[in-house]
């Protein structure tokens, strides 16, 4: 009985509506937390594993030596490598494909790499297009990602190095 009366008073005094409006009013003047992606970005851990890249040495020589350890360790069989002896006698890849549909972004390839050639960058907003084939990124593309983001890769790896 007494509870019913309490409820009636609460309902007719619009206390819940007022409570809601109070929050609305407060948020009107508070700082906004919505991030305006892609103009704005949330911070990402240096350990974040995003799109892959193949790196080069400062002299422009590609790092990858076609040891195929990443291919062997990849739990999703996402990597395909073909190798040959380049004219200068070094061991190089002729094909380095990563199927991003298969990839589970575990980072094992990066761990396995003896020359720090394959890395996972912080890039996650890549879009691969219409077809199934479009999901496979090849050596040229991977090197391009590496070339374009060398500074970012360097910085994040350096930051993470402290904890390894």
């Amino acid at each position: 009985m007494i509870n019913n009366i309490k409820k009636l008073i609460k309902d007719f005094s619009l206390s819940e509506l007022r409570g809601g409006l109070k929050i609305t009013a407060k948020e009107l003047i508070n700082k906004k937390i919505t991030v305006q992606f892609p103009e704005e970005r949330t911070p990402i851990s240096p350990r974040f594993r995003g799109l892959h890249a193949l790196r080069r040495y400062p002299n422009g020589e590609e790092r990858c030596i076609a040891c195929k350890l990443c291919e062997a360790v990849c739990p999703a069989n996402a990597i395909t490598i073909e190798s040959e002896m380049r004219d200068d006698g070094t061991r190089r890849t002729t094909q380095y494909d990563i199927d991003l549909f298969k990839c589970i972004f575990c980072g094992f390839c990066e761990e396995a790499c003896p020359v720090d050639a394959i890395v996972e960058t912080q890039i996650f907003d890549y879009a691969f297009v219409d077809s199934r084939e479009g999901s496979i990124i090849d050596k040229a593309h991977l090197l391009e990602v590496g070339d374009n983001n060398e500074q970012m890769i360097n910085e994040t790896k350096l930051e993470d190095a402290k904890y390894r």
Binding site: I65, C67, K68, A72, S83, E84, M85, P114, V115
Partner: protein, 750 residues
């Protein structure tokens, strides 16, 4: 030797006195790490990795060089042992470049494996590492001597198995370098085995360099069909291609070794010259067509030309000796079903009435145990490398070896006597020997031999055959076209019977034994290869025939096959201009390792194999093609689902080589004899297309050797062309003999 008991890690183990400890632990499955020890090589005890603790010995003892004693107590796993082994491992690793990621041995490296157990994760070595500059040692073996751990397996292989010490250690201490002594590099016909014995990546396969990592490949057992051994191999495949071949252990066949030909010929499989699709000739133009169309065309050709006209006896089948047992069987069955017996695989014989028919009645392993060998007309080292290896073993354990050859060859063992005899005189010499042997046993001397005066050489040869308890007489390829071929075989047979010797006929190579077994020879009413070409048939089925290399008279054969009214079905794995010239249909067939089948080796051992890879593109195994062709011709008895069913149909009775009973001909003639011997790496189409093999010195053999007198008679000089082959004048060739050894077709007629 008596059995004794020793204690290993607290367990009693019985072993034979005098055995090395490591042989016992290996047999018992106790793991002892090692690098320099190899069961088929002598003990070097230099890597020090197999150190074990023997109770009573002050120092740890190397298991590989410690003979066992009764009551010996050994620990293979205690602290002391582990400390020694770890110490050695650390030493091995300080100067070893840790370039495993680019090393072709990575994944199958003994050092890598042992380092997982005994290595340390951090190196205490902070000094500079040793670097060795590599030289080029030939087209087959790639060296990275910085990786060498100086186990000397390759050195011992050369000295003990290869028979030439091509690799050796120069310098001392840290500067000890394993390298070939000569700038020409490695030239042995067994050199590829050094790759197998090398525990690290110092010696790796050059054609395979940087192609794949070992774990990417599938391993399929197979049989090498290049020679009479049928070496057991493992083909390593990747994405349907054979990428590398390594030896497979089989003590009764090839032990753990294979010849370079067996190891590197696979390269030919991927040659651009492969015949990849069926083609038919319409109005003189080649057209690529589907299998249906091609087989239909072939079937129609056969029916129109011979079958429907009731001229089945105008159909002939010729096959090269590399065909499988099943292919031989199906082709001859097809011919016999349609009523033709014109069947032959003996394409390189000048006179098929005069052949060297001789049984082989000794096992490969048995060759090791003989105490005397007489080789007639062969250079076994290059022609039958694994048979030669057994002979070398026999020689090392004391067998005396006599040779009657038309030219001096490099033997890799000590010869008792090397008799360089004019081809025309060999029959006479054997007759001398036979007469002496008959005289020794007071047997009746046949009339043909009665007038012979035996020479001293013959006396020595005869004496040794008579003295020996266990001798073998080997008849080689150089005698097949001797004018007195059948007499030579008869004489050998007679000598062998009189002296209780065994015989080994290595005159026909590859899978010829299967040709004999399946009766791939003319029947009673049939024509032999030469007769077929001479009379000119209306239709031919040719199985993997390359006329420039396979026929004794290439030009004549091509002319006969090119006749306008002859319908020729060619089944080939590789393109060939001459084949294209005379054929009407070309059917692409699977080459080695792409088909299932069987090989019969010299001791009659049938070794069946599966296809390691499927044939590329539109290429089909020949047995299937033959089966379908037979079906199209509506012949009964070709309901085979797989090649094994074919194998089981082949009776094991087979065809016995009956020694001819032609009249003995031992008259010495004065004519010049030409012996045409394909270079060892040109014996079949596959090896001819293997580029690395062709780049070797053996592969490049291309000369017509003769002595001065013969050259004068033939009016040629050094480097002139004789049969399209440059003349090389050397006095090591018998008189009246030209020995043509070439990797290219010859021009002109023999």
């Amino acid at each position: 030797m008596a059995d004794i008991e020793i204690e290993i890690d607290g367990n009693l183990v019985s072993a034979k006195a005098g055995e090395m400890l490591i042989a016992v632990t290996d047999r018992e499955g106790i793991s002892v790490p090692r690098f320099c020890y190899h069961k088929k090589l002598s003990v070097a005890a230099n890597c020090r990795m197999c150190l074990v603790d023997v109770e009573g010995a002050p120092k740890p003892q190397p298991a590989c060089s410690t003979p066992i004693n009764e009551g010996m107590k050994v620990h293979t796993n205690n602290e002391k042992v582990k400390a020694s082994q770890k110490a050695v491992m650390e030493f091995l690793l300080i100067n070893h470049p840790l370039d495993c990621p680019i090393c072709d041995q990575g994944g199958e490296c003994e050092l890598q494996d042992v380092a997982m157990d005994y290595g340390s994760d951090v190196s205490r070595f902070s000094e500079g590492k040793r670097v060795v500059v590599d030289g080029d040692i030939g087209p087959l073996i790639q060296t990275d001597m910085t990786r060498c751990i100086h186990c000397t397996r390759c050195v011992r292989f050369g000295a003990e198995i290869g028979g030439i010490m091509e690799m050796g250690g120069t310098g001392r201490g840290e500067d000890l370098k394993i390298e070939p002594f000569l700038a020409e590099g490695i030239q042995s016909e067994l050199s590829g085995n050094m790759i197998d014995v090398c525990p690290v990546g110092a010696l790796t396969s050059k054609p395979f360099r940087y192609e794949l990592r070992t774990w990417q490949m599938n391993s399929v057992s197979n049989i090498a069909r290049h020679d009479l051994t049928g070496s057991n191999i493992v083909t390593q495949t990747y994405k349907g291609r054979v990428k590398r071949i390594v030896a497979k252990d089989n003590d009764s066949v090839n032990e753990t070794w294979i010849s370079d030909r067996d190891r590197f010929s696979y390269e030919g499989l991927a040659h651009e010259n492969r015949l990849l699709s069926p083609q038919i000739k319409v109005k003189g133009e080649w057209r690529e067509v589907s299998w249906d169309e091609a087989l239909e065309f072939a079937m129609r050709g056969l029916t129109d030309k011979v079958l429907n006209t009731g001229e089945a006896n105008k159909l002939g089948a010729l096959a090269s000796n590399t065909a499988t047992l099943e292919e031989f069987h199906l082709l001859q069955k097809l011919l016999r079903e349609v009523g033709s017996e014109n069947i032959d695989y003996r394409l390189n014989i000048k006179d098929l009435e005069n052949t060297v028919t001789l049984e082989s009645n000794i096992k490969l392993a048995g060759l090791e145990g003989v105490d005397h060998v007489l080789i007639i007309g062969s250079n076994p080292r290059l022609e039958q490398p694994m048979i030669n290896h057994r002979l070398r073993k026999a020689s090392l354990s004391g067998a005396s070896i006599d040779v009657i050859n038309v030219m001096a060859f490099d033997f890799n063992y000590q010869l008792n006597s090397e008799n360089i005899v004019t081809p025309n005189q060999i029959a006479f010499m054997l007759a001398e020997v036979l007469k002496l042997i008959l005289q020794a046993s007071n047997a009746e001397i046949p009339e043909a031999l009665s007038k012979i005066e035996a020479s001293d050489t013959a006396k020595q040869l005869a004496d040794r055959l008579l003295d020996a308890d266990n001798s073998v007489i080997i008849l080689g390829e150089h005698m097949v076209n001797n004018p007195q071929a059948s007499s030579i075989a008869q004489l050998i047979n007679e000598i062998a019977q009189q002296t209780n010797s065994t015989t080994l006929n290595i005159s026909a190579t590859a899978n010829s034994m299967a040709g004999d077994l399946t009766e791939f020879v003319p029947g009673k009413k049939g024509l032999d290869a030469n007769a077929m070409l001479a009379t000119g048939l209306k239709a031919y089925i040719l199985l993997d025939v390359y006329p420039h290399f396979d026929f004794h008279h290439p030009a004549q054969a091509i002319k006969a096959l090119s006749k306008k009214d002859a319908f020729v079905i060619s089944m080939n794995s590789f393109k060939d201009e001459a084949v294209a010239q005379y054929s009407d249909v070309m059917l692409p067939i699977a080459s080695f390792y792409e088909t299932s089948g069987s090989h019969i080796n010299i001791e009659g051992k049938v070794q069946s194999f599966c296809a390691s890879v499927s044939a590329p593109s539109d290429v089909k195994p020949a047995w299937k093609v033959l089966k379908v062709l037979a079906d199209l011709l509506q012949l009964p008895g070709f309901h085979f689902a797989n090649s094994m069913q074919v194998t089981s149909e082949i009776s094991n009775q087979g065809h016995k080589q009956n020694v001819s009973n032609k009249k003995l001909d031992i008259k010495v003639k004065r004519s010049v004899n030409v012996i045409w011997q394909k270079s060892p790496y040109a014996v079949d189409a596959l090896s001819r297309h293997a580029s690395a093999l062709q780049a070797t010195k053996i592969g490049q053999m291309h000369s017509a050797s003769m002595n001065k007198a013969t050259a004068k008679k033939l009016e040629v000089a050094e480097n002139d062309n004789y049969l399209g082959v440059p003349v090389s004048i050397r006095e090591s060739v018998a008189n009246n003999c030209v020995f043509v050894n070439t990797n290219k077709p010859i021009r002109g007629e023999l």
